[in-house]
Chain length 131, copies 6
């Protein structure tokens, strides 16, 4: 199953990258500007990248978007957020959002486990147009 999972992670990453390219190839300025703005949002400013990624993670969890959660978990890992810190971020999202968040928490922890096992390192989305 582990091989199967790796394939699904790789397939998902390839899908995200391919579709982002399809979307940005379209001549729609509003969509392109939104994607650029999304990237700009998480750059260091008055708050550092780590704090911004943790906020993006919490927002994604209470809105219950698995792809967004996986993206921010990967970004958090890249900037040094520890597993213990991630679980505290999960706990805030769980209490704010309620038990309806639990299925997404399970998938988030599964993704984190894979990341830590080095199985899913390739799945970290590129910094541009990440969501």
């Amino acid at each position: 199953m582990s091989a199967d999972k790796k394939d699904r992670v790789a397939e998902f990453t390839a899908f995200r990258q391919r579709m982002n390219e399809r979307i940005l190839a379209e001549d729609n300025q509003v969509v392109r500007r939104f994607f650029a703005l999304d990237t700009q949002t998480y750059r260091a400013g008055a708050l550092d990248v780590k704090t911004k990624e943790l906020m993006g993670l919490s927002a994604s969890m209470v809105l219950r978007c698995d792809d967004c959660i996986a993206y921010h978990v990967a970004q958090c890992k890249q900037v040094g957020v520890t597993r213990e810190e991630l679980f505290e971020a999960f706990s805030v999202s769980l209490v704010v959002g309620g038990s309806i968040v639990i299925p997404h928490l399970r998938r988030a922890v599964d993704f984190l486990d894979q990341l830590e096992a080095g199985e899913a390192t390739a799945s970290a989305a590129p910094p541009e147009h990440g969501h």
Copy 2:
């Protein structure tokens, strides 16, 4: 993968049709009336079908329901909405609903690509009880 995808589209369409039949076979008048009302909602009136389908699409995107998005994209194509127009509808939904809409946008564009490639024509839901 293209063959695999076609299968998944066909499988999804078959699932939708089969389950709609299961649901309507049940002796529950509220559910049946809701399905009938849902169908009636998108008929031409003061507003034409195209405008109503675009509104249904926008509502489905900000509520982030992939099945509903796919259904309305297919309906929009059937009544002549162009790819450029669909992207403008996507852009409204993206700005209203935020980056949390992006994963659904990716799947919507993928579905649209398949529709345009003629791979998914069979997946257009029947006009009755569509969602």
Copy 3:
């Protein structure tokens, strides 16, 4: 009560305008760009302004945001959407979003009544940074 209501509409419009100015006076480029993008989104393109405003209205109704609904109802009136057409837009939102939309529908119709009675013409938001 009619005088009281007019005051509340005027107060709300003044509040919106004053706070938009406060927000844009802040040195935060992401927020400013988002507001500019929001304005750009509803400009005529492949789809006309009327269709885009109707989509914005439907999205606002199913997401249940009274201020956004009032804004788009006012914009729709300005570009010639009739009461009958607005009710069809309401009906799509009601069926997609469910009975939870009804309290917002009541307030939308109340706002529309005031607009048509000429009581609330001043409340039409300025075209820039409208939401």
Copy 4:
């Protein structure tokens, strides 16, 4: 303040009734049918009215609609749901929906207190077109 509150409850009830009449006076069959269906939904069937109202209450709480919550609390009281039972319904909604439900819980308990004090008995919505 108690007099002020009674007025607000009465004002709200009058507003709901007046706007429901305005909405149903409009020649839009989808909207009218939806309102009729909404009424039909809570009639006794395989499940009794009490259970259905408690389900409507839970759904309204996790979707965070104050007007809908107030309506279902009043309906629950009318069919004999006790304060203890209402708090158990609140507790389910709180755990499913998270701390974001708390502000609505406060307003629900305030409304319930008023109902029990006999201050708000007139605010119980009529059984037709209630939400």
Copy 5:
């Protein structure tokens, strides 16, 4: 396909159980307490388990969480809720939540069909930490 489906149900159940164990093995007291509270919520009190499970089901449907819906459908079956009663619960959720609930209704009925066919009995979540 039936064999394939049984596998997917078994796989899902195994995943849920494995991830719940992973989550509770973590030294995060807030998360652990939330899971314990979630279990406590559905115990019989002033309201019986059946009513509480039906409320949990309605809340899950309008919030559109397939895993939560499946869990509560299974729990409802275990405490004797009939198919007719479940469809009435579905109808309340459909009217409150709108057509956006329909795709989840299809998957709920499919899951119910499997449960009734005895194919998915093993998928009933254990009473502890269920969501």
Copy 6:
């Protein structure tokens, strides 16, 4: 108007405190435990209080709960979050949640302005049972 506003802030704070007491006076253990857990969630752990409050703020903004936003803005101010940092938190929430967040952003900035003007210092919720 400033006097009027101060009164409304004071009235709101009094309402929150009074209703929290009413709720906790009720003999419902699940509700009480949820309130206690909510308080525990924001205590310093692997992440400091500032980061947790910023996450709570982002989650509240994308879920569009004015009371929760006001509460977390006040808490953020108490632990030293600057106006510039708060606007970066707002910008993340705006991009994740979309233009539907704008009306809440306006009210958040208005509340922040009042806090900074010293008008609303009394409105900072007590650390216990805050939401």
